[in-house]
Symmetry: C2
Subunit: 307 residues, 2 copies
């Protein structure tokens, strides 16, 4: 983990779960001399101030980015273009612009034409989060042991990339460099489609005639409740993810549905061997995720069992 | 919680996660004078003995059930008939026969014709479990605060039902009486279909050409890892669930797929309002599950965040 100042002045736009966690992680590592924080909501910025998340607080993006060496956009993917337009004329010469969005190609395409040529645009995505939202939900250790994927364009300034990499390492992440299009495909299957099917089954379950909603809630410990966690994630953020990673999501969703149809057919025709084969194979993936330190080995996610 | 002897002698057939947890919960509450445990696997029964889970250990089902007032079958749903056939002639007059299977109508149909008319068959299903298997994975508090659904047939002996209810209360559960067919429909949506789609997405993710399995594992913290927990559940048990609850699972799966197709269309045509509406609605269900004490409110299931 890097420790000590990486950028003299950093601005974070957006003080939600991720933005506020970035702020806390930067201050934990003392990675900047001045941290400026902006949010479009007066309520959110007041909450951030009462939590003492930064050195200065700003309602205006133009104000917040002035003199900053690094600007991190922590807003929903659909808001990147309007924030980019508002800050473009006020950026410091040679400033680095990055973000934390879950989709990378569309963010680059939205920001690139708006920014001055002296700025260095390097999109990023820390693969971490919880189902909660807002400045109070963030915490300094959110990125520890998690991957941060940077998707620099061809011909990126190597010095700028190195500094941004050092910052994420200072926040506890392991940094991976990836092509933006490949990022969007990988995340479609590891994050976007899982969220979509979680939202979907929670919707299906709440719309039944023969099974009441209170029965669904009472008996959710049979498996359903695991899906409700990610189906409680921020609606605006996720709407924007699906609208901005359409091609990759539709591709992965097509495969998921094809496989599900095959399973459905195996159930209809009583093909127990096909079911058993898949159900045995999937155990191995879980084991590897735990070995890789990306989840907890305790049964039931370590949920407390009351006595 | 009931405390003290409910049955003089209880036999549990099957010493896996659930059977061994029932054994522990019965002994915690001192709910029987003698607990007999049987398992078809010599290795499993030896492990159960070394864990001191019961008062006597049996390789033979006939042996194990002799003189027992209650026999609980904790074997995969597909094994109920063969266990029922093996024990039928050896049951004590007026013995109560129950089980812990996740499907209820087919268990009743499998056992009912095999049992002597003096026996009382009352199927049951504790809605609790973890992704782990075997006698060492069980624990005494597994059923605390969870529902146990009993599905007695029409004309059930009320005294037998009362005693079985008292036993489950003594193990920490809240008991609900339900029609077997309705149980199978409720569990299809709260448990069986969630397991199926979790198994399915883990299968889809491990079969991609453009995204490697190691990328899936590295970036699983974006949502995928939640699905791998239930996709690591016992393959034999789950194969049998799907084969034995075919109609209800196919019905619920049909609804799920229909809803997913509508979401897919919303993504393709950029209908952000439809996405936002669903994603907002699903948050409420999560809140109600936490309010009902069926899940933990801590973000990320309270997974540890390393420092």
């Amino acid at each position: 983990m890097t420790d000590g100042i990486v950028f003299d002045r950093i601005t974070i736009i957006g003080a939600g779960l991720i933005g506020s966690s970035v702020a806390r992680a930067i201050r934990r590592g003392k990675l900047t001399a001045h941290l400026a924080l902006a949010d479009a909501s007066a309520e959110v910025i007041a909450e951030a101030e009462s939590l003492k998340l930064a050195d200065s607080y700003h309602a205006s993006v133009a104000d917040a980015v002035a003199d900053s060496d690094l600007v991190i956009l922590a807003v929903p993917v659909g808001a990147m273009a309007s924030v980019g337009a508002a800050m473009a004329a006020h950026l410091k010469e040679g400033a680095i612009i990055s973000d934390v969005g879950s989709v990378k190609e569309s963010v680059f395409k939205a920001l690139e034409p708006l920014l001055p040529s002296h700025a260095h645009l390097i999109p990023g995505h820390p693969v971490a989060g919880t189902e909660q939202s807002g400045p109070a939900a963030g915490f300094a250790t959110l990125f520890d042991g998690r991957w941060c994927i940077l998707t620099p364009p061809e011909g990126v300034d190597e010095g700028a990339l190195e500094k941004l990499t050092a910052l994420w390492r200072g926040m506890g992440s392991t940094v991976e460099i990836m092509d933006a299009r490949h990022h969007d495909l990988v995340l479609a299957i590891t994050s976007h489609v899982p969220h979509l099917i979680a939202y979907n089954i929670v919707g299906t379950a709440s719309d039944l005639e023969e099974v009441t909603r209170s029965e669904v809630i009472k008996y959710s410990a049979g498996g359903f409740r695991d899906f409700t966690r990610i189906a409680a994630s921020d609606p605006t953020m996720w709407r924007d993810v699906f609208l901005n990673n359409k091609d990759a999501v539709l591709e992965m969703l097509g495969r998921f549905s094809e496989d599900l149809t095959a399973l459905q057919r195996a159930i209809r025709w009583g093909d127990g061997d096909a079911l058993f084969e898949l159900f045995s194979r999937t155990r191995e993936i879980r084991r590897r995720i735990i070995d890789a330190g990306q989840d907890d080995a305790k049964p039931d996610f370590g949920r407390p069992h009351e006595n």
